[in-house]
């Protein structure tokens, strides 16, 4: 769409756009605070991956999802989880490794999940969470729940074989499964065209029999539309694939200064800012800046609170260490110390 058509259109779908903007701004602000937590030494985990620049993928696809849908994410999944309704306090606390976190501080940023929101888990293995959606989609289909299951992953995972096995199964069995590749152009220090010659990513899914598209992530409305097509298609039995083109604004991890890419490239990439773009669309369509500022301020306060919540939360107690290896009704694994006590007691 050209700019004029877009303004007209966004006026029409102004309320959608506002909702998307709000979600995207929440994601962006949350990610800012995560970085802050990290710098304050409050985050557990040496690895922390921010999704700044990718907000439209999280929010646009999420808009096509319903309660009951399930999903898995990769290691850069804060935005998706938030867009699906996560409590930012519990998220931040989990990232901080606190007992008030979603996973009681055991998982951290890369292993966060919430069954009640259909989040079957983030994953620190590139591609590791992909096949689970085939299983979840199979269950949804069999139980006729009408739910879809969506795997979110990065462009790097396009080179993991398990993706093709999973897409093939989804197609073969007509499952309500969707594969969403958040193509931020980089996998650590490897640009997508340094990882593959087949950079038209959706073609790879199409050849396996999936509905497949690529969408530019600049405009969240475009993403939402494409996602609606793909997700609705999956709901009615044709699994789908969506590549969302965007840019990883910062380093791979919080400390990575991306020396492997040029300032020019970064400037160009960051110019494609879906949050700013939505803000401008809203303004262009007549929304007063003061209103937008008010929204931002509210979000800022909400996210500030997550840091306090986290800093005030307790570390998990040491005796939780042996819990949840197996189900609660099962004996816990015997601690090494207990074993040693018994062995050494003989003397």
């Amino acid at each position: 769409m050209n700019r004029e058509a877009r303004v007209a259109h966004s006026r029409k779908s102004n309320s959608d756009l506002l909702a998307h903007y709000t979600q995207m701004q929440r994601v962006r602000t949350f990610e800012d605070r995560v970085g802050e937590l990290y710098l304050r030494g409050g985050s557990a985990g040496s690895m922390l991956h921010l999704s700044i620049g990718e907000e439209s993928a999280a929010v646009g696809v999420s808009a096509a999802m319903r309660a009951g849908d399930t999903f898995t994410t990769h290691h850069r999944g804060h935005g998706i989880f938030l867009a699906r309704g996560a409590d930012p306090n519990r998220m931040m606390a989990e990232i901080g490794g606190k007992e008030t976190g979603y996973c009681r501080g055991k998982g951290g940023s890369m292993h966060i999940a919430d069954m009640s929101l259909g989040h079957l888990g983030a994953n620190a293995i590139v591609g590791g969470g992909i096949p689970a959606v085939v299983g979840a989609a199979m269950v949804a289909k069999r139980r006729k729940t009408g739910a879809v299951s969506i795997a979110f992953f990065g462009d790097g995972a396009m080179q993991q074989g398990i993706l093709y096995e999973s897409m093939n199964m989804a197609a073969l069995w007509d499952l309500p499964a969707v594969f969403v590749c958040i193509n931020n152009q980089w996998g650590m220090g490897t640009r997508i065209d340094q990882a593959t010659k087949a950079t038209r990513l959706h073609e790879r899914a199409k050849v396996f029999g999936l509905n497949a598209e690529t969408v530019d992530g600049l405009d969240v409305l475009d993403v939402a539309e494409a996602a609606a097509r793909i997700v609705d298609g999956a709901r009615t039995g044709t699994p789908g694939f969506l590549a969302v083109d965007c840019y990883r604004f910062f380093g791979h991890g919080r400390k990575d200064k991306s020396p492997y890419r040029s300032p020019e490239e970064e400037a160009e990439g960051r110019a494609k800012d879906p949050v700013l773009y939505a803000r401008q669309m809203l303004r262009d369509s007549g929304m007063p800046l003061t209103e937008l500022d008010a929204i931002d301020a509210e979000i800022s306060a909400e996210m500030d609170a997550t840091i306090d919540f986290t800093m005030q939360s307790a570390e998990p107690a040491n005796d939780t260490m042996f819990r949840d290896v197996f189900a609660p009704d099962q004996p816990e694994p015997e601690p090494v110390r207990t074993r040693l006590d018994r062995v050494l007691a003989r003397e």
């Binding site: 009681r104 292993h111 966060i112 888990g121 689970a132 199979m138 096995e165 197996f326």
Partner: protein, 324 residues
């Protein structure tokens, strides 16, 4: 009492469990129309249909990953790996995902799946189809591990595995499928995780599992004729490990040997020997001796294959020398 084959006991367990629990389904290569490479699921598709006997493409990593997702979504998959030798393609999904999900996610959810597979030597199937890889599984926190050696256990351990809240790796032995026994399946089984003392003796405790139970029992018969009486413990499950039964027997007898078909170094036999030594040291007259698979790949040659793993003669000979 009726005679039943190990293969058919497994099938019966699947049938009975699937009738009771509509959430159980089987997923793997050739499990449906073909009936399983070793015939265990033959005929099941007629009763349960293709929805519950899901024939898959040859995509082992995704088979296990699909089962993980289905288990998280509330069903109870039985994922079949045609040979345990293929586990190497799936260990990320098995060990990084299935085994850790409950823990990483703070106890929110478990992965109640069974990974059915088979291993071991005896069919001259070569280096990539004859391995005993249970040590990989036993070493991985979060996985249960069952290895039935008898027809009765083939049935009951599989039934019990299908009630577990956590992932169970269930390894059958390829040389046992055709073995028949007179069994009364209606006799209530020991609790999940309990070992069984198959024979009692005063001279030696032998701890073993899976097919080696038969090699050990055969050696025990011969030894008995020579006046040497051994206790034989069939572990049945390696996780949970019923150490209390081992302890009780070893403390009575004061001498122990472990027999495993897996490669000796850093294998199951090492764990059992180390554990027995730690816990029963003051009762031991001799070191716990390991009789296990050689630290070599398995040859396709029938003779070399046979000589790569423990057999009744080696077991018998070792006991004689220890007891002498």
């Amino acid at each position: 009492m009726p005679k039943l084959a190990y293969r058919d006991a497994l099938k019966q367990a699947l049938v009975d469990a699937m009738r009771e629990d509509p959430d159980i389904f089987i997923i793997g290569e050739e499990v449906g129309r073909y009936g399983g490479a070793y015939g265990v699921t033959k005929g099941l598709i007629e009763e349960f249909g293709a929805e519950r006997l899901v024939d898959t493409p040859i995509s082992e990593p995704a088979i296990i990953g699909t089962a993980v997702g289905a288990a998280m979504a509330g069903m109870r998959p039985v994922a079949e790996l045609m040979y345990v030798d293929f586990i190497g393609m799936t260990m990320d999904q098995l060990c990084n995902q299935a085994a850790k999900i409950r823990y990483m996610f703070g106890g929110q959810i478990g992965v109640p799946m069974v990974l059915r597979t088979q291993g071991g030597t005896g069919r001259s199937a070569g280096a990539q189809h004859s391995q005993s890889l249970e040590a990989y599984v036993m070493h991985t926190p979060g996985l249960r591990l069952a290895m039935p050696g008898t027809v009765y256990d083939a049935y009951h351990l599989l039934r019990q595995a299908l009630l577990q809240p956590d992932p169970v790796v269930f390894i059958e032995h390829k040389s046992l499928y055709a073995m028949t026994e007179e069994v009364d399946l209606s006799v209530p089984p020991p609790a999940w995780g309990k070992a069984v003392v198959r024979r009692e003796g005063r001279d030696m405790v032998i701890v073993t599992y899976s097919r080696q139970v038969h090699h050990v029992m055969q050696a025990a018969e011969t030894l008995s004729q020579a006046g040497i009486e051994v206790t034989v413990i069939d572990l049945r499950t390696l996780n949970p490990l019923d150490f209390e039964t081992i302890r009780a027997e070893v403390e009575k007898v004061g001498r122990a040997m472990v027999v495993s078909e897996g490669a000796m170094t850093a294998g199951v036999a090492a764990e059992l020997a180390a554990r027995i030594t730690e816990e029963c040291f003051d009762y031991l007259e001799d070191p716990v001796v390991r009789v296990a698979g050689e630290d070599i790949p398995i040859s396709v040659s029938v003779e070399l294959e046979k000589n790569s793993v423990p057999g009744p003669a080696l077991i018998e000979d070792t006991v004689r020398r220890m007891v002498a």
